[in-house]
Symmetry: C2
Subunit: 381 residues, 2 copies
Amino acid sequence: MKIALLGFGTVGGGVWELLQGNPDWDIAWVLTRRTRPELGSRAVFTMEPILADPEVELVVEVLGGIRPAFDYVAAALQAGKHVVTANKALMAAHYDELTALARQNGVALRCTGAVGGGIPFLTALERVRRLDRVRSVSGIVNGTTNYILDRMTREGSGFDAVLADAQALGYAEADPSADLDGLDVRRKLVLMANVAFGVSLREEEIPMAGIRGVTAEDIAAFRQAGLVCRMLATASREEGGVSAVAEPALVPDSAPEAAVPLNCNRITVTGERLGEQAFFGQGAGRYPTAMNVLQDCMDIASGCRSFYTERALPCPVDNDTLRRPYYVRTGDEKPFAGLIAGRLGPGFVTRPMAVPELHRRIPGCRFTAAVDNAFFAQHFA
Amino acid sequence: MKIALLGFGTVGGGVWELLQGNPDWDIAWVLTRRTRPELGSRAVFTMEPILADPEVELVVEVLGGIRPAFDYVAAALQAGKHVVTANKALMAAHYDELTALARQNGVALRCTGAVGGGIPFLTALERVRRLDRVRSVSGIVNGTTNYILDRMTREGSGFDAVLADAQALGYAEADPSADLDGLDVRRKLVLMANVAFGVSLREEEIPMAGIRGVTAEDIAAFRQAGLVCRMLATASREEGGVSAVAEPALVPDSAPEAAVPLNCNRITVTGERLGEQAFFGQGAGRYPTAMNVLQDCMDIASGCRSFYTERALPCPVDNDTLRRPYYVRTGDEKPFAGLIAGRLGPGFVTRPMAVPELHRRIPGCRFTAAVDNAFFAQHFA
């Protein structure tokens, strides 16, 4: 199959490398921002030659960012070309338009690499949905925050030191905001929930909290209580619609999530009849992500002509029915008057409260994390 | 698609139930051992009507056991019908003949439900192999032994009491030998390794040890040392060919395998470029296994016309290059003279030894388990 590659960075270079010597695939064009002598006449700086080449059946977009990726992907779909992307920011922001464009043009749109890097979660979810109704999706979908939390937990190190290590190792970007503050997790959660439930959530409606405020003292208190802190994406069917939150959570140290080391990911789908099924692996990186991109390409070459779901029904995020206890550390406990169930290290644990009640109060807090219900029942109820 | 169902037990009943009201599938015949009035004229007691019906494109075999399942499956393949089976005993014992028959007749043969129950491990492995070279496969593939080991570890209970519970709950059979002694694990390991490496291992060549001898005292000593006992299937590419063992192993209590609760399974594939990817879920049970069976059927309906691999090269099991330290409890330590690195609870830990060296000595031992290398290096080296 003749394809075009948009982007020649970490993932794009991985795609290029993995296809070298493969007679089934011909990368006819590579759209790059700067000159790449090694690409010869394949290198282009605009979409025109790609859109004008009727032999290009599939466009791989690994530029990242929303612009110009959106324009390129939309143009490719409108030109009747299949699209594979690993771009979660793009897919979360323009889910409706892009899935609709693919449907209208009868082409495939796949983005498996956008959730979980090398973990084939979206394709697994599509298969589960053939036979079962999904109750919930959840998990660790951000390697940067897991690396920081895991090393802080295992070594007792401080946040800043571990973040500096993560940056030196390339696990965190120079500006790590999207990872630390929950934006990256929220984007992946939009895609997971949309595919799981056949809906279309608005990114901005999903409450989000990050890990920037967590300290070695918090982590030491969690450890002593038998708890481990993890950054989690969680979405479930609730009475009012779909509940979805991206926030740190304290899980028992025997929980599978507690055993996810360093920058790995672990994502769970719970089906009504299937029960829990979880997928563990590299959540980022050159080869793992490039492999998910290429698996999508191979699925399209084998005849896949669709997105993961037929439907993308607009659906409000409704977290009102979901109540959780929270760990909170704050300089001003007044907003929590009457809500405190007990102390835990330098903070306190609240009575179970509706998610929006806590998230309204987060701006005044230094660090917050949802607390495992069974732990709460045992120690605070 | 018109199909025939061989067997109407736990999994067969699940397949029947999941297809009720589904217009894409017509279960034309059900081969049962006893009269099933609810099946009406669909019920048959021999293969003849099924083989004689040219409209039946696919045969689902969920009888279990090797005979008569082998004859039925072979006849179906020879009649040009696709076969889906969840029968690990059959597939491990007749791997070569059945995969060759499928190839010769140009039909699909799939057995995803035979490894990991509801976990789509074999289909995931097939996808990994499209882009990467597999280094190893390993994991917890037997729910019965994991249920026993997990409850013994968490509660400090004795083996007999937990086995009795497992039997009462239907997690263990009245004769639990195949599970407790490692036969079930070994069969699944044959399938995992064969698909992973494109080989055909002989079941009888794979060394195997079970958990029947483990006591509460062993488990207490492991816990105190920060270790958790799990029954593991392990296969890897080694210089001499393929190494494969089915035996209990002691892993650090922070390892992902230690966090696998009750009767769940967790199976890992390690690819040269992909790194580690693991799959967690229900390893048995009516709906999970029936779902994997139906996923296979749906893949065939979508055009899949093959087994998971093209090749099944005969390959000796070679464990000589693999050296592991072992925990051993035995009434006669003489055969281990010069091999003991130190004491651990009621037993001792050996210096790293080649797998066959240990397995030759197992008949005189009460309980043995491979010991995590990093733990050994830290405490005994």
